[in-house]
């Protein structure tokens, strides 16, 4: 029983990490049709900015409130980089899907290399608040606090995103844009402003994933974002592109499946099961759990 609880909660922690990356990807894709390969870069930027801020920004530090401040710096940096990328690189290629993908691919290669040139390719030890190194007993299992932190953060982000999308005017524009961008444009609303905002939100969520992922893994390295990105892509496809709620369901399914199979089967089998799940979902329901049809 305690093993079950442990696996469930650590699986949810993994799911939380996936959700934080996938929600931004999904929104960006749903609204702007951009498959963002640079999303992993936003994650790495968030992680490195948090790590840097913990050592350099006055008031920020590796513990307690200082860490919250450092993470806030990381999130701000992620949002800023994402917004800049949208304004400078993506916007001129509006509606040219392939070129946008190509630019984000180039950006992910160049950006990771830039991080490597600045801070080296080796993993750096990440500042971890004292509390996150401990464990909490739940149902007879000792759950790492870092997992709990991730789950709480992801739940908060999900709630905030849903509130924002449902009850604000900009959220309404974004939802309408995902449904039918032409109509929104025809009604005289500048959807492109929403693009920048969605990029910034996605970048912030990814940066938060980077900061908390640093706490979870205990270190930060330039390539970290890239490996998470592939599973985030899978989550987005399974969940249905453009749907935040779908991403949440899919992230939970993927995280739990991966954790349980990796524990009861051979290591690595869980990752393969996740791809098998993707294949099954595509065969049975190509538009994803909550999405509209992506097949033309």
């Amino acid at each position: 029983m305690s093993t079950f609880v442990l696996l469930t909660l650590t699986g949810l922690g993994l799911a939380a990490l996936y959700f934080l990356v996938a929600s931004g990807l999904s929104l960006v894709f749903g609204l702007a049709d951009v498959l963002n390969f640079a999303h992993g870069l936003f994650l790495s930027v968030g992680a490195y900015a948090t790590w840097w801020a913990a050592g350099h920004v006055p008031g920020a530090g590796p513990t307690g409130f200082g860490f919250v401040l450092a993470a806030a710096c990381g999130v701000a940096a992620g949002a800023l980089v994402a917004a800049l990328v949208e304004l400078v690189l993506i916007r001129p290629l509006y509606r040219r899907t392939i070129e946008q993908v190509l630019v984000t691919v180039g950006l992910s290669l160049a950006g990771v290399a830039l991080l490597q040139a600045t801070w080296g390719a080796d993993p750096r030890p990440f500042p971890r608040p004292e509390w996150t190194r401990g464990v909490t007993g739940i149902g007879g299992a000792n759950i790492p606090n870092a997992s709990l932190l991730l789950v709480l953060a992801a739940a908060a982000v999900l709630a905030l995103l849903l509130l924002f999308l449902r009850y604000t005017r900009v959220g309404l524009v974004i939802r309408a844009g995902v449904e039918n961008r032409e109509m929104v444009t025809a009604l005289g609303i500048d959807v492109r402003k929403a693009f920048t905002l969605v990029f910034a939100i996605g970048g912030a969520a990814a940066a938060l994933a980077g900061a908390l992922g640093g706490v979870y893994f205990g270190s930060v390295s330039p390539g970290q974002g890239g490996s998470l990105l592939i599973f985030a892509f899978i989550v987005v496809v399974i969940g249905g592109m453009g749907s935040v709620v779908g991403s949440a369901y899919a992230a939970v399914a993927v995280g739990l499946l991966q954790q349980f199979v990796n524990y009861y089967g051979t290591a690595g089998l869980g990752d393969i099961c996740v791809v098998a799940l993707l294949a099954i979902v595509l065969l049975v329901r190509p538009q994803g759990i909550a999405g509209r049809a992506v097949t033309a």
Partner: protein
Amino acid sequence: MTQAVPVSAEAPPAATPPELEAAPRRGGWRRLLVLGPLVALVVAAVLPYLQIPLPGVLDGPFNTYGNLQLFAVCLVFGGLAASYDLLFGRTGLLSFGHALYFAAGMYGTDVLVTHAHLPLWQAAVFTLVGSAILAALLGAIALRTTGIAFAMVTLAFAQVGAILVARDFGGLTGGEEGLPIDGDRLPDFLLGVGNTVNLYWLALAYVALVVFVVARVAGSPTGRVLAGLRDDERRVGVLGLDPYRYKLVAFTLAGALAALGGVVYVLILGGANPHVTSSELTLSLLVMVVLGGPGTRWGPVLGGILYMYLDHRLTSLAADLPGPLGQPLFVLGAIFILAVYFFPGGLASLRGRLALVSNALGRRRKDETVS
């Protein structure tokens, strides 16, 4: 947006597809151009006999073993990029899983030779057939989606390959260490540093084969349908042709060509290396094709050769370059982004652009070919 924009409709920035271009016009030097590929092939084949020093470009003359190995690698990637172009530039399929079939060719040959003790030619045949079947199966699933979803699904499949190799199930793949190929099972002329030149010729033959096959396919009726799929998939469907079937053919053929490249590459490296399973390799294939010019005969080959050359060269120059310039991927990524904005047709469009310039200068009035 109401419906997913079919990506294939806006696919690569190719100019007039060469397969639909009018027959070459008569003219003294044009006839030479027709023979150009043959001449290039002969020149490339005799290069190892020439002692040309290329200061700044190469360390030492062309036929040192190191340089021959480097160029063999460049040629394999030129061919691999050309096989990827069959998907991306010719059919408009944005696959992110092409590295999987290359890796299948490498690891398939390596495992069959090293663990199953098959002779090389048997291992190569089995690997090729197996990789083609793998490509057909995975393509059959992945092609149920289109556009961006297709890209993601192929990426996920390739990731399984990377995991399988990295986890080293049953000690087959050697995990992170890679798997050196068992030299005792290989023919003598492929072994040893002194025979590097044979590997170079093998790589050259591979490129020639891929270019030939891709050009033949592109010029055939099937190739016209593929170009049609790239430009307007719905229209091909309306004409009564089944897009799915044609795309699957292109996917399988490209996968088999990539696997053949893997067979050659494992011989050049003397073993399989888990780096080839990484998604980074597929991304760099995309970079090669776009830099070279998607949908053209020579663009992807040149792009692949140039990319690998720069990657290698920048790595060896890294110590002398300041800051981020010492990272080859930073330079290549930056060049790539600039190319997407300013050279949408890649290297292959340069000839057309130069022709435009010379037209403007009023010298060669009739030379307006854009290839």
